[in-house]
């Protein structure tokens, strides 16, 4: 990692942890992913079910369906059906507060969709624009990370990392954080998580999105059947998006337990404060 550093007090060193292109691309990615997730859930709401196979009407039941039914008093009840089992999810899935606060039948609630109200055309505009932002930003990131040596230096686990795998796992489970010089490097689980997100989850979620395009299907007719068909691709697109959300939660959680403001500042201004040796 960059090494320009300065002494700040007795044992404390402040150094530049993230180069500016990484910081800029990180935040562009945050914005693009948030917009894509929220507009994607709005698009999902137009047909709130997930199927496996080439079409939605194969005679097979959906894997997931978010719907609503009326109870004995005529009140709408949100029902989420997963693998044939029904769960009442009123308030969050199926039935939730609309713009005027009254219960509305909709898949995901207004506070997590973009736009808030049911508006497929506008959601597609946000989604298809920010998909380009995400892809172009991602390609620039790949170029930078290779050209600058960031990938080889900071992200690829080396021999020592692999040897320390068990220790790293134990440290994570016990919420033990590295101190001093060890803080400068990513630990092996962290490296693997970043690599999985950068080289597996993001590329796959994009490809599964493109797999839904009827025009791109004609590029090589049948390529989408590799994953089971267009509706399978749609299901995978959805699942991968939520896997990325899970990563975001873990990512932010790890920041919170390892010094949130210091790490946040490092990703905004680049400056990271390294305290002197101390007991973990």
């Amino acid at each position: 990692m960059p090494t320009s550093e300065q002494a700040d007090g007795a044992d404390t060193i402040v150094y530049r942890r993230h180069a500016w292109p990484i910081r800029l691309m990180h935040w562009i990615n945050v914005v693009a992913f948030a917009v894509l997730l929220m507009s994607g859930l709005q698009i999902f709401n137009a047909f709130p079910a997930l199927h496996w196979g080439k079409s939605s009407y194969t005679g097979e039941a959906p894997l997931l369906r978010i719907g609503a039914r009326l109870d004995a008093d005529g009140k709408a009840v949100g029902v989420t059906r997963i693998f044939g089992r029904d769960f009442e999810t009123t308030g969050v899935l199926g039935v939730s507060a609309g713009a005027d606060g009254a219960p509305t039948v909709r898949g995901f609630p207004a506070w997590i969709t973009l736009p808030g109200e049911q508006w497929l055309a506008m959601a597609r505009r946000w989604h298809l624009f920010f998909a380009w932002v995400l892809v172009v930003n991602g390609l620039l990131y790949l170029g930078y990370t290779l050209a600058s040596g960031h990938l080889a230096r900071d992200l690829l686990p080396d021999r020592a990392d692999w040897r320390g795998f068990g220790q790293s796992l134990k440290d994570h489970l016990l919420f033990r954080r590295p101190a001093g010089e060890a803080e400068r490097r990513y630990n092996v689980l962290q490296k693997l998580a970043y690599l999985a997100v950068i080289f597996v989850l993001f590329p796959l979620v994009v490809v599964m999105g493109l797999a839904m395009s009827p025009a791109l299907n004609a590029l090589l007719p049948g390529w989408v059947d590799v994953v089971g068909g267009r509706q399978s691709a749609r299901t995978l697109h959805f699942v991968l998006a939520w896997m990325l959300v899970a990563f975001v939660f873990i990512h932010v959680f790890e920041l919170v337990v390892s010094g949130f403001w210091n790490k946040l500042r490092a990703m905004v201004t680049g400056r990271y404060r390294l305290e002197g040796d101390r007991d973990a």
């Binding site: 137009a46 080439k54 079409s55 506070w111 973009l114 505009r125 009827p214 299907n217 004609a218 007719p221």
Partner: protein
């Protein structure tokens, strides 16, 4: 030092909470502002340009087998046009139906349903992808639009083919319409379909004629087609965006 740090934290926390509320409200405002939706809409031109560049003119949409057919082909949008003129045609099993083809053509023509059926046909099993997210697979039989174009001979100035439909979408009487460009119009799989799954096209799926444009989303495939017009521009028709749903914010190019 510590106190200053705490104050900054509190400030940042509040800023974050206020910020996220502001961002959401801001997004709603942006969705309603003309300039911003214009910026977002630029992605359509990008998708159109890139997909046309990647895709050979004659690239075929995937075709399926009978085993893949959806048991019932879902009907979306209009299921039964309540316009009296259409109802009268349907009551008579469309014997008085005439498909009028005109606009920028050398020889305008009109076709009865039997005349269309007498033309060389194409049968294809394709997947219908709705903009909402669902797909259904159906077997279509119809006249390739190219056969009609050959008969009417488009003028060099013709750039788009517009399809006018029988179904009123609103109480005001606004009817469905759609448009495609000449590249899609001449494509082998672009059909005026009159059969679905070996039976006459049901009314719920667009009888007597519906358009098939297999490399685009379902809303491009107008049902209840009554009249075809070749034009050089779309901005003078209805809302000016080239289709009923396009006039309501959907993309004209629906390849994704």
């Amino acid at each position: 030092m510590r106190e200053c740090e705490n104050g900054r934290r509190r400030f940042l926390q509040r800023a974050l909470a206020a910020g996220s509320a502001l961002v959401l409200a801001g997004c709603e405002r942006l969705s309603r502002s003309e300039w911003f939706t214009g910026v977002l809409g630029s992605a359509e031109k990008l998708n159109f340009g890139v997909q046309r560049l990647l895709l050979p003119r004659k690239a075929m949409a995937q075709e399926f087998t009978e085993a893949d057919l959806s048991p019932d082909f879902r009907s979306n949008g209009t299921r039964d046009p309540d316009d009296p003129a259409y109802q009268a045609l349907a009551a008579d099993r469309f014997v008085d139906y005439r498909l009028r083809v005109g606009g920028l053509v050398a020889q305008p023509r009109a076709y009865s349903l039997d005349a269309l059926k007498a033309l060389p046909s194409r049968t294809q099993i394709t997947r219908h992808d709705c903009v909402e997210g669902w797909s259904a697979i159906g077997k279509w039989k119809g006249v390739p639009l190219a056969r009609i174009l050959e008969a009417v001979t488009p003028l060099p100035s013709a750039r788009y083919v517009v399809f006018y439909c029988a179904d009123s979408m609103e109480a005001s009487g606004t009817r469905y319409y759609e448009s495609i460009d000449m590249e899609d119009a001449w494509h082998v799989q672009t059909l005026l379909a009159y059969e679905l799954n070996d039976a006459p096209l049901p009314i719920k799926n667009g009888a007597p004629i519906r358009l098939r444009v297999e490399r685009q989303l379902g809303y491009k495939m107008a049902k209840y087609v009554m009249r075809i017009e070749l034009v050089d521009r779309l901005d003078t028709i209805a809302g000016g965006k080239g289709g009923y749903w396009e006039d309501r914010g959907y993309e004209w190019y629906a390849g994704i």
